[in-house]
């Protein structure tokens, strides 16, 4: 103990340690947690962190995917591949079921999306399984409403977020106590940035759905974004599909996720492009946030992810 070596964790190691701590707190303090899997890169990181937190034991929670039925097929393949590798339990909550049961009403028209319907399916599934905690992959750097959300984000029995009644969150002493019917959303990646996520994926050599890498596909242009031409989106007047090299920065529904022109086919190339970009990922690729200045805030209050 005589040498005063300066030992410090790299910032990725610090973030990883913090996230593992958060996941273990949830496992220890809540009865029935679930990990929400979106199929995107943040989910890939969450699953890796869960391995780090709980192996060689099993995950003390199942994995749940809210399936809109409008997913990129590559994402479904990725989901099934990862779950099989992990040997953990997968629950699929289907938006189609919610529509069939009359719990949700399908939107119509060229801009129809099931994005908002997911909230119904998610809250129903949480109630049905009696989950009292749900891990999500959201980060505070994504958007201004998220920047103010706690790591343990309390939801009332309607699944709603009340930004004015958030529990104080001090040090790393999280309070996950809930009454029956209430739950907490827990965001282990709160303090990560998009670039951190990509650097971590590169460092850990994580598997991802191939749509994150540049590939050629039929797209059409709408509101300055490139959408995948798919059976789920009706073209509006004047919209003509064409072939383009694109990759995706976020993965949501095919109906609301835009691709960016890119030739980056390897992880290293993608990381380099992300580091150099001057546009946020939500601004560039998510139609769901473009409705209004406060779009995300409104959806969060309703119980969205």
């Amino acid at each position: 103990m005589s040498v005063a070596v300066r030992r410090q964790l790299s910032h990725l190691d610090s973030l990883e340690s913090e996230s593992i701590h958060i996941m273990r707190e949830v496992a220890a303090e809540l009865e029935r947690p679930v990990l929400l899997f979106s199929g995107g890169k943040d989910s890939a990181v969450l699953l890796r962190l869960a391995e780090k937190a709980f192996r060689p034991g099993r995950f003390p929670f199942p994995i749940m995917h809210v399936d809109t039925g409008h997913n990129f097929p590559e994402v479904i393949e990725f989901r099934d591949r990862r779950v099989a590798e992990l040997g953990e339990r997968l629950i699929i909550a289907s938006v189609q079921d919610s529509i069939d049961r009359g719990r949700a009403v399908e939107e119509t028209g060229p801009r129809a999306t099931r994005n908002r319907l997911q909230t119904v399916t998610l809250l129903d599934a949480i109630a049905e399984h009696g989950f009292d905690a749900a891990f999500g992959g959201a980060r505070r750097d994504e958007e201004r409403a998220r920047a103010k959300e706690r790591v343990f984000s309390f939801r009332d029995e309607f699944g709603q977020w009340d930004p004015r009644a958030q529990r104080p969150e001090v040090w790393n002493l999280y309070n996950g106590r809930v009454r029956p019917g209430e739950h907490v959303r827990v965001f282990p990646l709160s303090n990560w940035t998009e670039l951190d996520v990509w650097e971590y994926i590169a460092r850990e050599d994580l598997d991802l759905p191939p749509i994150y890498f540049a590939h050629e596909r039929d797209v059409f242009q709408r509101d300055g974004m490139l959408y995948a031409h798919s059976p789920f989106v009706a073209l509006a007047n004047g919209e003509v599909p064409f072939r383009e090299w694109v990759r995706y920065r976020t993965v949501g529904d095919m109906t609301c996720t835009g691709g960016v022109r890119s030739r980056a086919t390897t992880l290293a190339e993608v990381v380099a492009e992300i580091a150099a970009t001057r546009i946020t990922e939500r601004g560039e690729t998510r139609a769901d946030d473009r409705f209004s200045e406060a779009a995300m805030e409104d959806r969060k209050k309703m119980g969205y992810f």
Binding site: M1, A4, R6, R7, Q8, L9, S10, H11, S14, L15, E16, S17, E18, I20, H21, R24, E25, A27, A28, K52, A53, F54, R55, P56, G57, R58, D141, R144, A145, A147, K148, P163, R164, R167, P168, E169, V170, W171, N172, L173, N175, R177, V178, R179, S190, N191, T193, L195, I274, A275, A276, T277, R278, I279, T280, G283, E284, E293, A294, E297
Partner: protein
């Protein structure tokens, strides 16, 4: 596309010094800092300036702010403060309601907890300050040191933040006058000298015009200290020397191998080191149970390691199979924490229902949660004079005071001064489940003489 909103390369003005990290280290570690100032001191503008001048703002965010500036004001000049405005209720009322977290990277990775300055939001400042290594307190040079500035400095010291920066803002309004700056420094020092904040730095800035925020000011040649960003990049943190503090590993979770696997007897004590360094082979004690053993292995999912360094999350396998679990703390036998069922602490009260002597709460300290009784309210701080008022019987929302607590089972802790990780706690109201207090342990009362 060019430029880097979230990465370091090329985004940094050429005048800044190169990182001075020793070989083998990747520069200075993550810096968590917080900003506070009373309303209109220019905090939002300062943060906006810091982010824009260090090129941390993405084009679409900047475009949003430009558009909002045009809609909101006559002249349409870029209103930097809009960058950090968050929720709709805040924008409508023109105030900030809650702590907002921001992330940026220059030579260093930063996490900023941006705290609103209203008096009623003391609990927000405590929230933001609890994890901060550095605190920036804004003072409007024109208005001078106000009660809020003193309060912010006090909370900085109460929360054990080792580095305080006083940004003396709006220097343009006093013609960049050295005497005006010096007068703020003197007033502030008179009061702050009594506070146990080791490192204080005063920087004259103009957030509006950018002087000494990122770029060095031409208009204040009399100031030869660092700019705000330079200081943030270079300040050295105490947790860069984990070997100087006691090793503390609160047990969060026991990892067991699933049935049927060869290592079925595996029992890993998983947790995040609150402080210090633990090594394989060391003799350790678990508290409060008092069981002793040795560390057989330290595991991470990337394989076994020789030593674990705070704030790493690890899992340790012990030589003896002790039947203890979450809520125990692993320390070296020659350097254990205090174990007691009675403690004295400063608390910041965060609930509209007052704290009163005789009431019961849950206390969560490290990973241990037990019941606590408020035995006594020792004093309440007068927020105007910052002096303790004895004979207080209760603490109201946003009050800071000292209490004596008795717990139903012993806790293992250190004083907050010695250890922010193991000396802190929260109180939870068992009826509402709300977090009602942030607490900092001052000590355990000496055992009564027989």
């Amino acid at each position: 596309m060019e430029g880097f909103p979230i990465s370091s390369n090329g985004a940094r003005p050429a005048t800044l010094a190169e990182p001075s990290a020793p070989p083998g280290l990747s520069g200075r570690g993550l810096l968590r800092f917080t900003t506070a100032g009373s309303v209109d001191d220019g905090k939002s503008t300062l943060i906006g300036r810091l982010l824009v001048d260090s090129r941390q703002v993405a084009d679409d965010q900047l475009a949003q702010v430009e558009e909002a500036s045009r809609r909101r004001s006559m002249d349409g000049a870029l209103d930097l403060s809009l960058l950090t405005d968050g929720l709709r209720a805040e924008r409508e009322q023109g105030i900030t309601i809650d702590v907002a977290y921001r992330y940026f990277t220059t030579q260093r990775r930063f996490i900023l907890a941006d705290v609103p300055g209203h008096r009623e939001y003391t609990r927000n400042m405590v929230t933001g300050a609890s994890t901060a290594d550095l605190s920036i307190v804004l003072v409007d040079v024109h208005r001078g040191v106000v009660e809020q500035s003193r309060r912010h400095a006090y909370i900085t010291s109460l929360l054990g933040i080792p580095h305080l920066v006083v940004a003396v803002n709006k220097m343009d309004l006093v013609d960049y006058d050295q005497a005006a700056f010096a007068s703020v420094v003197d007033t502030f020092e008179e009061f702050a000298a009594g506070l146990p904040v080791a490192d204080r730095l005063f920087i004259p800035v103009s957030a509006l015009h950018g002087d000494n925020v990122v770029a060095r000011s031409e208009r204040m040649p009399w100031y030869d200290g660092p700019t705000l960003l330079e200081h943030l990049e270079q300040v050295e943190l105490s947790h860069e020397h984990p070997e100087r503090v006691s090793a503390r590993l609160p047990v969060q979770w026991i990892i067991r191998a699933p049935n049927g696997e060869p290592n079925v007897n595996h029992r890993g004590y998983a947790g995040q080191l609150a402080s210090g360094v633990l090594r394989t082979g060391e003799e350790v004690v678990l508290t409060p149970s008092g069981r002793r053993t040795r560390i057989a292995r330290i595991e991470t999912s990337d394989g076994p390691i020789e030593e674990a360094v705070a704030p790493q999350s690890v899992s340790v396998v012990l030589e003896d199979d002790l039947d203890v679990g979450r809520g125990e703390m692993i320390s070296r036998v020659d350097d254990p924490p205090t174990v007691a069922a009675e403690l004295e602490a400063d608390v910041c009260w965060m609930s509209v229902h007052p704290l009163e002597a005789g009431r019961r709460y849950l206390i969560k300290n490290s990973t241990r949660t037990v019941s606590a009784l408020v035995a006594e309210v020792v004093h309440c701080m007068d927020i105007h004079t910052l002096r303790p008022v004895p004979d207080s019987s209760s603490l109201e929302l946003n009050d800071i005071g000292r209490v004596r607590l008795r717990t139903t089972a012993p806790l293992a802790f250190d004083t907050y001064r010695a250890n922010r990780g193991t000396g802190s706690f929260i109180l939870i109201d068992e009826t509402s489940n709300d977090t009602v207090a942030a607490g900092m342990i001052v000590g355990a009362p000496a055992p009564a003489q027989p």
